[in-house]
């Protein structure tokens, strides 16, 4: 592999470089003017994220590839990057007061969020297995630190340790899979792998199949698919809520983008081999995620299992591997960014004695004291359950249509049944909010940045339902890549 030196390659990475510059600026302000950094870093990081969104949209419709084909910027990548950057911007907004309240070191916190986002964006545009591994580590290492960031809380420490051990375990599995694929095909470039697969001798190669399997396991950990989901509830519960919100969008979206590139773009020729595995994983993920979520009475754990379940629905679209499936994945991720971050934003607002009030009972009667907040929470719960008029409904319909088009009726039935089951625990939250207020109601504080984040998330959730066409025309061009 010979990588030509071409200065124009750097154009592709403009969003990443904007974020890197912002992160460095925040770190330097933190190192030389601590007081100023505590006040300014959320707003600097918000500006940086906005700049990155503008740069990403600027790259839209103009597919570029650079660094010897290691980085591509196609429309699929731009859309998923937009979902990730939206998630980052909203996560920064809900962090403003949270970081102050929990007395976390602000400069490091926002710098790590931005560095992790760089890893996510790189992962989305990786067209090379080694790039996928490298960007996966960039995003994960920052997240390990962020998960254990509340050093004084044993839960946060425990979550950080668990996430670190299982995360690096999965990365090691992934990289061994990459090594095997490299051995079988002689390349780690996704396009070259796709070309190699045309020759009949390669297809049945057990080394290639083992490598593909290990890569699937490694990415399965990151998207929190069953049976590789065991870290998710503990990490989401122990991590600071804003970090859990951030990673539930970003690392999932980035890992799904990589999964699509590996399974559909590179190994589309192997679909008969991997379909059964992805089918089973998708079915298990939807079933286990939704069923276990019913038993949770801690809202953070419930959202964790909900996030597992949603990974299952996106996996249905991956398994379909058709035009509709490819269109629905970016749409689903953007919709999920809005509705899930909205729900997490509400979680950070409800506190008791300075701690988050995470019991479901803490939400009883919330509607009578804070109708707008409870109303938004209800909207997000409707969206996560897939009930109209929300983006969650539209996203699920797209996935179901993709399953129909791919003749996967069995998986479609499982998806519909689990969606109906999931309505139970999402709607339970809504019902609880209308019950009588408890004797000792929790303290609810909604500072302005948090209110803005909730408003944007709610608006996005409804907007994508009313005008799915806005992204539809985008996703059309995505499907042409197939």
């Amino acid at each position: 592999m010979r990588i030509p030196v071409d200065p124009s390659d750097w154009l592709i990475l403009i969003p990443e470089f904007i974020l890197l510059g912002t992160a460095i600026a925040i770190l330097m302000i933190d190192a030389f003017a601590k007081a100023a950094s505590d006040r300014s870093s959320p707003w600097i990081s918000l500006a940086g994220t906005a700049g990155a969104i503008v740069a990403a949209v600027f790259l839209w419709g103009n597919p570029l590839s650079g660094f010897g084909g290691m980085i591509v910027n196609d429309d699929f990548g731009v859309l998923v990057s937009t979902a990730i950057l939206t998630g980052t911007a909203l996560a920064v907004l809900i962090s403003v007061d949270y970081v102050r309240r929990e007395e976390l070191p602000a400069g490091e916190y926002y710098a790590l969020i931005l560095l992790s986002t760089i890893g996510m964006l790189l992962m989305v545009s990786s067209a090379n297995l080694i790039m996928i591994f490298l960007s996966l580590e960039v995003l994960s290492i920052a997240l390990y630190v962020l998960t254990g960031f509340a050093r004084m809380r044993p839960r946060s420490q425990e979550a950080g340790m668990k996430y670190f051990l299982l995360g690096s375990f999965s990365a090691a599995i992934l990289v061994y899979g990459v090594a095997l694929i490299y051995g079988a095909t002689g390349t780690v470039d996704l396009q070259s792998i796709a070309d190699e697969l045309i020759s009949p001798g390669v297809l049945g190669n057990p080394v290639l199949l083992a490598g593909a399997g290990l890569v699937l396991v490694g990415l399965g950990f990151k998207v929190a698919a069953v049976p590789f989901q065991m870290w998710t509830p503990d990490v989401y519960e122990g991590a600071p809520s804003t970090v859990a919100a951030f990673m539930s969008i970003g690392s999932k979206a980035a890992a799904f983008a990589a999964l699509v590139r590996v399974l559909i773009f590179a190994m589309g020729g192997l679909r008969p081999e991997w379909l059964a595995a992805v089918w089973v994983i998708a079915a298990l993920t939807m079933t286990v995620g939704n069923l276990v979520a019913i038993a949770q009475d801690n809202i953070k754990r419930m959202l964790a299992y909900s996030s597992i379940a949603h990974a299952g629905y996106i996996l249905v679209a991956v398994a379909a591997a058709n035009r509709l499936g490819l269109q629905s994945i970016p749409f689903y991720l953007i919709a999920y960014a809005f509705m899930n971050l909205g729900a997490w934003a509400v979680v950070t607002a409800v506190t008791r004695k300075g701690e988050e009030a995470v019991g479901l009972s803490d939400y009883s009667g919330l509607f009578w004291s804070h109708p707008v907040l409870a109303g938004s929470m209800g909207l997000f719960m409707f969206a996560l359950a897939g009930i109209p008029p929300t983006a969650g409904f539209t996203a699920k319909i797209y996935v179901f249509m993709a399953a129909v088009a791919a003749d996967m009726i069995g998986l479609l039935i499982i998806a519909i049944v689990t969606t109906i089951i999931s309505a139970y625990f999402y709607l339970r939250v809504t019902v609880i909010m209308f019950m009588e207020r408890p004797a000792e109601p929790p303290v609810v504080t909604v500072p302005t940045p948090l209110a803005v984040a909730i408003a944007v998330a709610a608006a996005g959730t409804i907007w994508l339902f009313l005008f799915p066409g806005v992204t539809q025309s985008f996703t059309d061009t995505v499907a042409r890549l197939l």
Binding site: Y144, P154, Q157, Y182, P233, D234
Partner: protein, 100 residues
């Protein structure tokens, strides 16, 4: 020169040892050492394939994996040390405030 599949078998044995170590051992530092073993198994496989295919790509990948492993060590030991400061032992089975 030894045939390539000798190195591949060694790499597979290292990888399996590492995987079993992570699954069986309960001390986070030992578990992390097992993960490093898995990464090094991948490194060995990369070098072997690289030699076998007469290209230098695999060597560069090993550089990248080694750097990433060093960054992981720094963060991982940092987390383990911060837990050490608040408690005396770090058996993973004692880290179970959260269940479910």
């Amino acid at each position: 020169m030894l045939p390539a599949h000798y190195y591949l078998m060694l790499s597979a044995v290292l990888f399996t040892t590492g995987t079993l170590g992570v699954l069986i051992r309960r001390n986070p530092i030992i578990m992390f050492m097992s993960i490093e073993l898995m990464l090094n198994a991948a490194n060995l496989a990369f070098i072997t394939f690289s030699r076998y295919q007469r290209s230098l790509d695999g060597h560069i990948f090993v550089f990248i994996i080694m750097t990433v492993a060093a960054a992981e060590v720094a963060v991982g030991l940092g987390i383990i040390i911060s837990i050490f400061r608040t408690r005396t032992d770090i058996n993973i089975d004692d880290l179970n405030i959260m269940k479910g």
